[in-house]
């Protein structure tokens, strides 16, 4: 009964288990369900285990039992499609400006906002009329929409960054999940992270050590002496935030990967979030920065004793950090300047550090690093730097 309903739920991405489906059958057999409304509620409570899925459940239910059309996944697919198309175009790097038929110099004068708009418009043209046609996005040129070019405010569409200042990263590799793979080469880093593990906020002396108590009592010829141990209080919560997206971080990814693979086993409660370049209104729980995002304002609900470790090179265009709406992503209009978000983090959590994979001697050359260092204590991503970061995280105030 309702097998196809079950499968439509699964198809739409709700993790429905066969066991729960059998339970639903049992509920039906018990005569507990008397009407469709009744079925709606009972099936939901049995099959759907998070309010996150309630909306999808409603859609599937309406579709299945009342014949309502399921909405298309258009929006997501379109933007995905757009990215794939961009990828295609990049493989044919040829006469960009000529194919576009526009004056380059005009485009170079555009502000990032106008550039984004221009880019989106072109994208729309292309998705509507693209049949292996014009190659207006290329690489290596001075077009504002290529990559590895030298245009200072140019939009980057892939490739390893050289100038670390591209204003718009349109193409994203969402399938890179740094958390899963990568050989561990620098064992010393794991050692340094173990210091975090040793960071035990010592509990009160209130656990009776029975063996020692009996031993002591016997030594005292039966006069009771109770020995207490410190309660184990290894309740350290750590939030790790990794800048994983930027091409500017690409050269450091092996380092970050090592750190990350280790840290996964080091803490009792570790949450990892990802961001790109700097933190806007939300951070992502998946490395692709695509599916599970969490609003930064919701972080107020977390334990203020949580240790925040941010890993990033802190190098970006100044306006990404300082402007409202400085996010380099289409459609993401941050409400606060990223700078304010960072300040918010450092005010909410008492223990924050920023780990920077670039060597310290390069820091003074980058304006944004200076700004961020005013908010977070910054350490190098080296054994020494980690030592410093750890002792900062352990400190009581």
């Amino acid at each position: 009964m309702f097998v196809s309903f079950f499968y439509s739920l699964r198809d739409r991405g709700i993790p429905v288990t066969p066991t729960s489906f059998l339970r639903l059958q049992r509920a039906l057999r018990l005569g507990v369900i008397r009407s469709l409304n009744n079925f709606y509620v009972v099936a939901r409570s049995l099959l759907v285990k998070s309010e996150r899925w309630f909306d999808i459940y409603d859609q599937v239910f309406a579709h299945h039992f009342e014949g309502v059309e399921l909405p298309d996944l258009d929006e997501i697919e379109l933007s995905e499609m757009a990215k794939l198309l961009l990828d295609e175009w990049l493989k044919n790097p040829e006469g960009v400006a000529a194919a576009l038929g526009v004056n380059e110099e005009d485009l170079q004068k555009l502000t990032p906002e106008e550039l984004e708009q221009y880019f989106l418009d072109r994208l729309k043209d292309q998705t509507e009329a693209h049949h292996g046609g014009s190659k207006w996005i290329g690489t290596g040129g001075t077009s504002p929409v290529g990559h590895s070019g030298v245009h200072p405010g140019g939009m980057r569409v892939g490739g390893v960054s050289q100038n670390k200042s591209a204003t718009k990263v349109a193409l994203d590799r969402r399938y890179r999940d740094y958390s899963q793979e990568g050989p561990l080469t620098q064992s010393q880093m794991g050692e340094a992270l173990k210091k975090l593990r040793r960071m035990v906020p010592a509990g009160p002396l209130d656990v009776v050590n029975v063996d020692k108590t009996i031993y002591k009592t016997m030594k005292n010829a039966g006069e009771i002496e109770i020995i207490f141990d410190r309660r184990l209080a290894d309740r350290l919560k750590v939030i790790l935030m990794i800048d994983n997206g930027g091409w500017s971080m690409d050269p450091y990814i092996p380092l970050v990967q090592t750190l990350f693979d280790y840290s996964r086993n080091q803490f009792k409660d570790l949450k990892t979030y990802f961001f790109h370049n700097t933190i806007y209104d939300r951070v992502w729980a998946d490395a692709a920065r695509y599916r599970n995002s969490e609003l930064l304002t919701d972080f107020t609900k977390k334990d203020p004793d949580t240790r925040i470790v941010i890993v990033g090179d802190a190098s970006m265009a100044p306006y990404e950090l300082m402007n409202e709406g400085g996010s380099i992503y289409f459609g993401e209009r941050a409400r606060n300047a990223s700078m304010e978000n960072l300040q918010f983090l450092s005010q909410t959590f008492r223990h924050c550090v920023w780990l920077n994979p670039t060597p310290r001697y390069e820091w003074s050359g980058t304006w944004t690093i200076d700004q961020i260092r005013r908010i977070f204590p910054m350490f190098e991503l080296t054994l020494d730097g980690l030592d410093g970061a750890v002792s900062h995280l352990i400190s009581r105030n």
Binding site: P15, T17, T19, S20, R23, R26, A27, L30, G31, V32, N38, V41, V42, S45, L46, V48, K49, S50, E51, F54, G203, V208, V210, T213, I214, T217, G222, E223, I224, I226, R231, A233, R235, K268, D269, T297, D298, T300, K301
Partner: protein, 282 residues
Amino acid sequence: MVHEDFYKFQGADKYVLDEELAEIVNVSMALEMPLLLKGEPGTGKTMLAYAIAESLNMPLIVLNVKSSMKLVDALYQYDTLTRLNDSRFADSSRDVSNIEDYLKMGKIGQAFVSDVRVVLLIDEIDKADTDFQDDMLDVLDQMEFDIMEVDKTISAENRPVIIITSNAKKDLSDPFLGRCNFHHIAFPGEDVMHRIIGVHFPDLKKEITDACIRTFYGLRKLEGIEKKPATRELINWIRALKADPDFKLSLLEKGNVPYLGVLYKKSPDLKVASNAIGKNRQ
């Protein structure tokens, strides 16, 4: 087979129950599954267990989960210290050679050995770590546990009605969720809120109720608040207003909100709220 308790639960004196929730409670009892309730703090997750116990006339046993709690604490405690003391001074009625004299049932244990069917409320399960949660569900599934010290198995005589609450934003583990019935209590809309206030303050004038609820939902819309005021805060706030002889309805209508501290429990929140209200008045 229809369970004998089925359809019984209709809501209690002070608990406004929406139909969905009543059905889910009844189905969970019929299927003998624990009911997991999620929702914003102050939406009545805990109160539901009290209401069920009251309406079904069953005793209620509350297990308040703490972060440091181990499963065995919830099952039973073996009081070694008292036994040691008794063996030294031998001045109690307990028999030192009988370990069972020094065993005390924890909350889950009490629910199992109770003569009558009870409602067992496991409050704020998300505070404990995942091992605790999974192990506990094993015990609740099998309805029995072992006491290691005396090698004895305690089985439930009457399967308790189990209500579990969670405030967590993150999901509990999959095996855990798989064994529970799930419901998310959404924050009540204004019409339900009118009913709730009606139940708690039957003699409150309609204009006052309206004004209070309007102000309250206005305040909930403020941004940058860590803990938004919920039903519990609203009820306490109205209680405070009622107790104040100087309170006049016109004050509220002018945008003057007294006793903000009842609504906002955290000082940064209170600051944000009073700033916002100050702006409105100008």
